[in-house]
């Protein structure tokens, strides 16, 4: 697995990727998320709300040989597989990497190729892609942009957190027609009604049948893990 925040390096297969996605935009959806803004959680919530999306064992993030659903936590380990930085360089923060994240095993849009994307396409399915690049507007498919701030979701801003130390980062919404701006603070809220309203807006934009309970159950456990990490393990 690899992940890196920052602007998209368009030195890869970018033009081909844009061409593939724009040729059949109904078969793609993109999550645009700043690193640490719960992009994997939103990914899981979307795919866990509809069988229309591509999902297989290779994406589930399990360490052991478990075939997990998008909203399923590992049974044989505490958390998901850890992310490497790039080129097999490990983050030095195993605990947070393993215990307080919802990592999935997919290539970020900026590090994949058109060939890899095509290999993942399945008939009549939507392939959900993820990018940390908050700038591109090249795509015609639906884009879920995770906006707002995570400052009030976690207390990790003053810590050594790799994934959640985003003090002062505020992601502005984008008002293009194919964008939906998901307010991360509302989606991850402790307040059920606030969560529910934001999740239902997401479902409405993507035409998903809501799975309110199971998405909520997933989020509650993730928040429990983050709280434990903050309080006891850090």
């Amino acid at each position: 697995m690899s992940e890196r925040q920052g602007r998209l390096s368009k030195a890869n297969d970018w033009d081909n990727i844009v061409r593939v996605i724009n040729k059949s935009p109904k078969n793609f959806c993109i999550i645009q998320t700043y690193s640490g803004f719960f992009g994997s959680t939103v990914y899981r919530a979307i795919v866990g709300s509809s069988t229309d999306y591509v999902w297989d064992q290779s994406m589930c993030g399990a360490v052991a040989n478990e075939d997990l659903g998008p909203l399923e936590w590992p049974h044989t380990t505490e958390g998901y597989a850890i992310y490497e930085r790039n080129n097999d360089v490990m983050y030095p923060y195993f605990k947070e990497n393993h215990l307080a994240t919802a990592h999935i095993s997919i290539d970020m849009l900026e590090y994949t190729t058109a060939k890899k994307i095509i290999s993942k396409i399945k008939q009549n399915k939507i392939l959900l892609l993820k990018t940390h690049d908050m700038t591109p507007r090249d795509f015609k498919c639906k884009i879920v942009r995770i906006v707002g701030s995570i400052q009030n979701i976690t207390n990790l801003n003053d810590s050594n957190s790799v994934f959640r130390d985003r003090d002062g980062v505020y992601i502005e919404p984008c008002h293009d027609n194919n964008f939906f701006n998901l307010d991360v603070e509302k989606f991850m809220s402790d307040d059920y009604d606030t969560y529910c309203n934001e999740y239902l807006k997401l479902c409405s934009f993507l035409e998903l049948m809501p799975n309110i309970n199971n998405v909520r159950q997933y989020i509650l456990l993730l928040k429990d893990k983050i709280n434990r990490y903050e309080k006891d393990i850090l």
Binding site: H75, E78, Y192, N211, N213, N214, R216, Q217, L221, N227
Partner: protein, 225 residues
């Protein structure tokens, strides 16, 4: 001949290792514990007993509706049952009456025979504490502690008291600790349960189920009770 409850009682006595029996008073999350125990690979369940039609997992809440299906209940209305309870429609063969002659409505002795034949193990639950001495060959769990704060009117200001079963070899279990919002308290209680019943731990699944259960109690208390 209609099946009497005595047929089932004798079955349990004959095959005590296939049954774990939870003894608890209403409002003490006996159904939640029953779901938790039966969800482990060492135990057995059928989706049709889970009071929802979507997921073959006792620890998942339904998504097409807010909560689990409701049943006839003597003191719980629709709101309490649907929104804050996690009732099952099986595993509760005894009704509370001392004069009970027949197996409870919805239960089926053939299912119990079948699971014994297949050597499956299940957790049952009852409010009928008079059965504690009788099933002394089976693992018996007696729920202890204080009443859980669930906003049920009829339980307000009541103390949860059960008789002293110290002479019986029962497993006394504090359900409040298992259903705690504090992870460490939950984990300690859960590990006790795992050790007592020789379960393969499913910490993430059980914890997420409990967190959801806790949130539903709070929502019910805050807005609906």
């Amino acid at each position: 001949m209609k099946t009497t409850i005595e047929h089932l009682n004798k079955l349990i006595e004959k095959y005590p290792d296939n049954f774990v029996i939870i003894f608890f008073k209403g409002g003490m999350a006996g159904s939640a514990l029953c779901r938790i125990i039966n969800s482990h690979p060492e135990f057995y369940y059928k989706q049709k007993y889970l009071n929802q039609k979507e997921y073959n997992d006792p620890l998942k809440f339904p998504d097409l509706v807010e909560g689990f299906n409701v049943q006839d209940h003597s003191w719980l209305g629709f709101k309490e049952q649907h929104l804050s309870c996690v009732h099952l429609n099986f595993y509760t063969p005894w009704i509370n009456s001392e004069t009970q002659k027949y197996i409870a409505s919805g239960e089926n002795i053939l299912e119990y025979l079948d699971l014994v034949n297949k050597n499956h193990k299940v957790a049952l639950k009852t409010h009928n504490f008079s059965l504690v001495p009788r099933f002394n060959q089976s693992k018996r769990i007696v729920l202890e502690g204080n009443y859980l704060d669930r906003g049920f009117d009829h339980l307000k200001n009541m103390n949860y008291e059960v008789a002293d079963y110290s002479k019986e070899d029962v497993f006394k279990f504090n359900i409040q600790k298992l259903m705690s919002p504090e992870y460490d308290i939950f984990l300690e209680a859960y590990i006790k349960l795992v050790q007592e019943l020789n379960l393969t731990p499913k910490i993430n699944s059980v914890r997420s189920f409990i967190l959801m259960w806790l949130e539903r109690q709070e929502r019910f208390k805050r807005t609906l009770s």
